[in-house]
């Protein structure tokens, strides 16, 4: 009665569209919170809380980088997690929302020579005014 729980925990993480989008993004490598926030166009709290949710369930890890928090897919995913993330990447390939997100991400990445934070950009913009 108790071992499908690992799987259930995973699926609980997957049954929210914001979290799906986050995971799809992180599939492409680590990101800081404000990156995610910018790409998804959602509030800071919302993103932060979903990240916390994912973290407590072990799908995601975080590390501080100065002022920013970098989030990434768990370094040592369980076989089930691995399988399901692969499945997600596969399913999301066709979807307009996921595609838009990933386009936004690549744009962001090219716009920034080094993978700095968009916050840096926002700050720069403010200063130049």
């Amino acid at each position: 009665m108790f071992l499908p729980m690992d799987l259930v925990r995973i699926y609980e993480c997957l049954c929210d569209s914001t979290r799906l989008r986050i995971l799809a993004l992180l599939g492409g490598g680590p990101l800081c919170v404000c990156h995610i926030q910018d790409i998804l166009g959602e509030s800071q709290v919302k993103i932060s809380k979903h990240l916390a949710y994912l973290k407590t369930r072990g799908l995601v890890e975080s590390s501080r980088e100065g002022n920013w928090m970098m989030y990434s897919i768990a370094a040592k995913p369980s076989p089930e997690l691995k399988a399901n993330l692969a499945c997600l990447q596969d399913c999301s390939r066709e979807d307009p929302v996921f595609k838009r997100d990933s386009t936004k991400l690549t744009k962001l990445r090219t716009r920034l020579a080094k993978p700095a934070c968009p916050c840096a950009i926002r700050t720069a913009a403010k200063r130049s005014t």
Copy 2:
């Protein structure tokens, strides 16, 4: 913002252990409610409600067979559903709970020459006393 919904709907179905077990069982072919009920050892209401849940979201279909209701995986599953069910079957291969369920199922199947309902057996047992 709206198309990952198909995926979300699927994952919502997968994030309960009872539903996972049901889906894993149905992966092996159609079953009537009392089969499922017997194998999982859960109450009638519980099983029935989870089946209804799965049905409204299109993961599962039902057809009446005399007194029984036969449930089966959707005949024309979306690619996402197909992928995720395959993933589930894969993940469940190792799990003790799923294994126990499927063993119970094969026992049931061999015990019954034809795939009749366990209810028939229960009834017969009652009558013979």
